[in-house]
Amino acid sequence: MTMLNVGRPTQPQTAVPVAHASLTGARGLLQDEALIFELGGWDKTGVDLEPAALDASDLAGLTREAPIGLPGLSEPEAMRHYVRLSQKNHAIDLALYPLGSCTMKHNPRLNEKMARLPGFADLHPLAPISTAQGALQLMDELAHWLKTMTAMPAVALSPKAGAHGELCGLLTIKAAHEAKGQGHRRLVLVPTSAHGTNPATAAFVGYDVAEIAQTEDGRVDLADLEAKLTPDVAAIMVTNPNTCGLFERDVIEIGRLTHAVGAYFYCDGANFNAIVGRVRPGDLGVDAMHINLHKTFSTPHGGGGPGAGPVVLSEALAPYAPAPWVVSGPDGFKLVEETIDEAAAGFGRMVAFQGQMGMFVRAYAYMLSHGTDGLRQVAEDAVLNANYVKARLSGVMSPAFPDGPCMHEALFDDSWLEGTDITTLDFAKAMIDEGFHPMTMYFPLVVHGAMLIEPTETESKQELDRFCDALIALAHAAKAGDVDRFKGAPYLAPLRRLDETLAARKPKLTWRPEPTTVAPAPLAAE
């Protein structure tokens, strides 16, 4: 059906003022959406439950008397509320999301579909083992892929995220040292460019942290490492490719030196996407490495999680892995759930139950889809895309390490902004107005005003060009003195720049009723 256009104008009639404000706070399709506590009814609900006669006579004195303070919404209201909120988010499905070190790649929907098969999604973690054979087989097959791709003999699947994997790795190392009478080792060495989780994890398990210096070309300073590798060192934690987006050329020597003093080599596998299918950490002398399934293997980031951080382990560390793990035998698959008997050396338990099964299914669907050939292509295209961005932007921005290729991410410093009065933050905020999520800013700490761009392999050349064109245009604007474009940015986002100082000075972490708001009345007895 065509729309009748008789009697109404079919073209814009007047020029629209540039700074137009609505009367309601809405901005066209973007609604000004209140909190559920301001919208919901204290006696409203979006579920139909068959009422039960409440007989809490067994629970005298144990039941809640006062109202909880939870508003409810009907189903259409709830749908609208959350859809309206969703529209205020940037997303990988919307545009390139070049957060360095985060690997924001496409999240295939096949993975979502598979994770929702009732055999996985509706499986209780303590269901009898005979009723969970498919789940255990999946974990076993996933483990096989992870071990094969890393040339490591064992894997602990249960850690729930990258940092949790680091914790698992260091606890394994600690247990191994203790078993060998080396419990006195107190020190973990971490490069200055490391993710914050590395030193935080080392401290969390009671180690002291010392930093390893970095060379001019962005790698571990071998001389400094060698000097710091004392008999006190329990482990080194090195990210490879590192957070400057560079491969540690001396990685094999790093491993050799570390092992020579009886320490273990922990590799932060956050950047595994750059080498998957092409380089196996086991060939580099690594003893333990976590793999962020939510990065390399595309399980969605979900606004900050959930993730999954399985840890692959060397022969030396394998006996100390935490419970549980899967074993296969003639009667099918079993789950070793206690650190007793054959698992007595295991250091304990990282989580209740088995870990992030929902993420295992998604990651495994992704691995099967790509296959060994596709995964190799993943690394190659991720590295190609990053180098292409680096090549295109190097004319206007200053690469932190101009010589030689980068791996999966391109790192720039802010020297090219000198004299413009524009900071890395300003530049990042201006990218928002151009439709892109900013890159990782001010990380790694070793590069001044760092801008770390990781495009991933799932970007087309067209999207990369669109992105590079936008950044080049912005760079020209910055150098041309168009300062307001940056200082006031973003102008076109759902909100302008937010006052983070105010948020931290007077923390308001929950909604509380205004004094004038009527408090919820106690519910009438059913």
Binding site: G46, L85, L126, P128, L284, G305, G358, G371, T372, G374
Partner: protein
């Protein structure tokens, strides 16, 4: 390959722009010894149909909880999740966004987190809550570590009613940090024993209610004893629906409340991903682990939300951070918040009432089976029964009748000597027919 947009022509052109001859030139920094020219010994790529076929075959080897009468609980519960929840969490803008580090284009996620924090604070009866932990068990360990920071003491007392996995996780992590963890002997109604274990050196006591055997406890007296000794009271809850009926941890004197939020909005998923709820008194907020979302204003004075107090966190404080946690459980927190918004006060109270009623009905049915003894005196939706001949054996036998009878306690703690104790749970998904079939089958077995 369907997930890779670059064509061979693109690749060639891009290599030209970069100024190298081949992709191998970009991997030149990899030591020669570590370069793998050949493909690994794994299957090659597969289409959607083939992948689906393989995974469906694996899924078909599992028996979903919804396939028949099902009574497992013990830290994860089968509940109905409204269809709306799963629809919304699959929206691209929620599913495929990152941690909200750029608040101007992440207000959707941030406002949800603010709503989540407020809901969790209300449920637990405490003043502030964080933006989620991985799950309840890791939250429990983090709470103990936090108590150490607040009190500067190194000893913790875990009740014998704490879920054995939670106790194991806490012991593993807190022990590594140098804490001295005392886990009291496992017993069904064990909470009162906690008071006697408190000393002037105790940093915190950890009590679960309802506990792993389903026992509901008013921890007020324990909290008083803890506070008198300068220790913190940590209350753990594994069944979040119980907040709809029972006194909140805050009401009973908890300083920190930790809970598994899986029951609200999140499926069973064989153990994860779940969502840890973590709340505390406001005065301890700067010692909290994890992300916090706070209210502020933008440059035009409009209300907005940001991640805040991040000087506690690893990306700023590094080795001095309160925790190493980074990625948390954002999407599960969203599911939790949507489900709880749909329930509202009335829905949650109704849901809790139904759960309790179903469990009482199950209790009455099992109590009538000769030889079966109900061990839990006061419960919400889960309790322990003694089954003659062993709980694991009973579960195995009843599987033959198509019934998943519950969790043998020995599965959680084989050393406790409670081989005849079976943990059973009922929820709103449990039908009268399920209960009748369970009692009937058990009767057939114990007779």
């Amino acid at each position: 390959m369907r997930y890779l947009p670059l064509t061979p022509a693109d690749r060639a052109e891009m290599l030209g722009v970069i100024g190298v001859d081949s992709i191998d030139d970009l991997f030149a920094d990899v030591p020669v010894a570590a370069r793998k020219a050949e493909l690994f010994d794994l299957p090659r790529h597969a289409g959607e149909m083939e992948v689906e076929r393989h995974l469906q075959a694996l899924a078909a080897k599992n028996r979903p909880a919804g396939a028949g009468p099902f009574f497992c609980g013990a830290g994860a519960y089968k509940h109905h999740v409204p269809a709306t929840v799963d629809h919304i969490i699959q929206r691209s803008e929620f599913l495929t966004s990152y941690t909200p580090y750029q608040p101007e284009i992440a207000q959707g996620t941030l406002q949800v987190l603010f709503e989540f924090q407020t809901q969790v604070a209300a449920l637990t009866g405490l003043e502030v809550a964080n933006a989620s932990m991985y799950d309840g068990s890791t939250g429990c360990a983090e709470a103990v570590m936090m108590a150490q920071r607040v009190t500067r003491r190194k000893k913790a007392v875990l009740s014998g009613g704490l879920h054995p996995h939670y106790a194991a996780v806490t012991q593993t992590i807190a022990h590594a940090e140098g804490m001295d963890i005392t886990r009291l002997p496992v017993a069904i109604d064990a909470e009162a024993a906690v008071i006697a274990a408190i000393t002037p050196e105790t940093a915190c006591v950890v009590v679960q209610t309802p506990n792993v055997f389903g026992v509901v406890t008013d921890v007020s007296k324990i909290a008083e004893a803890a506070h008198a000794a300068g220790a913190l009271m940590i209350v753990v809850t594994t069944e979040a629906v119980s907040f709809g009926l029972l006194k909140s941890p805050g009401e009973m004197g908890a300083d920190i409340a930790v809970a598994e939020g899986q029951s609200i909005g999140v499926g069973l998923s064989y153990g994860g991903p779940y969502v840890g709820l973590f709340a505390c008194r406001e005065k301890f907020v700067r010692q909290m682990p994890g992300r916090l979302c706070g209210e502020t204003v933008d440059a035009e004075g409009r209300r907005g939300f940001v991640l805040t107090l991040s000087t506690r966190e690893q990306h700023i404080r590094r080795e001095k951070a309160t925790s190493n946690i980074c990625t948390n459980s954002g999407l599960c927190a969203l599911a939790f918040t949507i489900h709880l918004s749909l329930l509202g006060e009335r829905g949650l109270r109704d849901l809790a009432a139904i759960n309790h009623a179903k469990a009482r009905q199950l209790r009455d049915a099992l109590a009538a089976v000769p030889g079966v003894e109900i061990l839990t005196p006061r419960f919400f939706n889960e309790f322990a029964v003694r089954v003659p001949g062993g709980a694991a054996q009973a579960v195995e036998a009843l599987l033959g009748d198509g019934i998943v009878a519950g969790v043998p306690f020995s599965r959680l703690d084989p050393k406790a000597g409670l081989d005849d104790v079976l943990l059973v749970a009922a929820t709103e998904t449990t039908t009268d027919a399920d209960i009748a079939a369970f009692a009937q089958a058990l009767k057939g077995r114990t007779l």
